[in-house]
Amino acid sequence: MQTHKAKRVEIIIEAPMERRLTEALVAAGVTGFTVLPVLGGNGRSGLWSREGQVSRAGGMVAVICILREDRLEALLQAAFPLVERHIGVVSVTDCQVLRAERF
């Protein structure tokens, strides 16, 4: 089956920043993404878990974004100012997609 090259970007970011991140993505023309819940994690700011939180304050989410290679730079430019000052991890993977016209 015919597949096409694309990029898969995964951004793990604090829940209170989710809306700002997705708005920045949309503003940069990245209109397709999916948000996954995160149960917990560990990093420089220590171990946390969702059930150990009183509020969303310390929780995180993972935003997954599959897009054409030529749009990657725009996405990274849009996401960087937000993840830079906030807790956040960005990774980019090569992938193949069906139906290239969607991305």
Binding site: V54, R56, L82
Partner: protein
Amino acid sequence: MDSLLSLAAQNLISPIILSFVLGLAAALARSDLTIPEAAAKALSIYLLFSIGFKGGVSVAAHGLDARLLLSLAAGVLLSFVLPFLAFGLLRTMTRLSPIDAAAVAGHYGSISIVTFVAASSVLQGRGVASEGYMVAVAAAMEAPAILSALWLAARFGSHNGPAADSHAGGPDGGLMREILFNGSIVLLVGAFLIGLTTGEQGLADIEDLIVAPFKGLLCLFLLDMGLVAGRGLRASRGVLSAGLVGFGLLMPLCGALFGLGAGLVLGLSSGGIVLMMTLAASASYIAVPAAMRVALPEANPSVYLTLSLGITFPFNLTLGIPIYIALATAAGG
């Protein structure tokens, strides 16, 4: 003094406090006991809806009062002012950076609604009446402190701090809207208005939900608070210096004195004064932390969450409330 002790003892041997202690002990013993996040959120929605509604019904019954507006204004003022006091104390007693101190200070100007609920519950158990609109005062005190904290951070923080933030969506319209239309404020005020509109008739309709099981559900909620506080304390052992712990115990007492003053000036009932003291003494751990993550991401969240939830909340719950009742009584409130 004697009655303070017996009051404290009586307060400590209630299912509510003991549920908190159970949660705390379970977390410190590293038990895997957890309340699912969705259940904890549902409980807090229940509590907010219930106390908002009952506050509204009580105002509907006793009539609107000139003091209502004055109390609201006093609450807003306290919320604005207390962060400055907290910031001063923190800079004196601890080595927190200005940004961290500003973030912590914001928490202490704002309020903890569960502490408020616990105090109401103690008052009710002792048959002490209070003004129904104190719920509205609680809602009004949630947000102003955040502005004071941001101002303190901008004034005393390093240059690339909050300034840099504005271009990332900082203390902008978006943030102000988020703070003002914060879920807990909306629910509290909304339920208050529903209670005000439907009055005793509305209460009769739903009191089997919002009155009867209230104390029991508060126990379960405090069980969860104990678990969260205990896990927070365990996770951030290194974070709490003696100075910080001292602040976490001293600041509520200072706040309570301001609340006492405000209550006396306003001429609130004895119960109302206790609630005003409790609001001033309590520290936020829901609305303010979320706002700080957005607006002051450089501030260390484990400092403010641990202080507010691990030190000040248990202090208020166990010793604070009896002290505030004793003080209010002594002040002839």
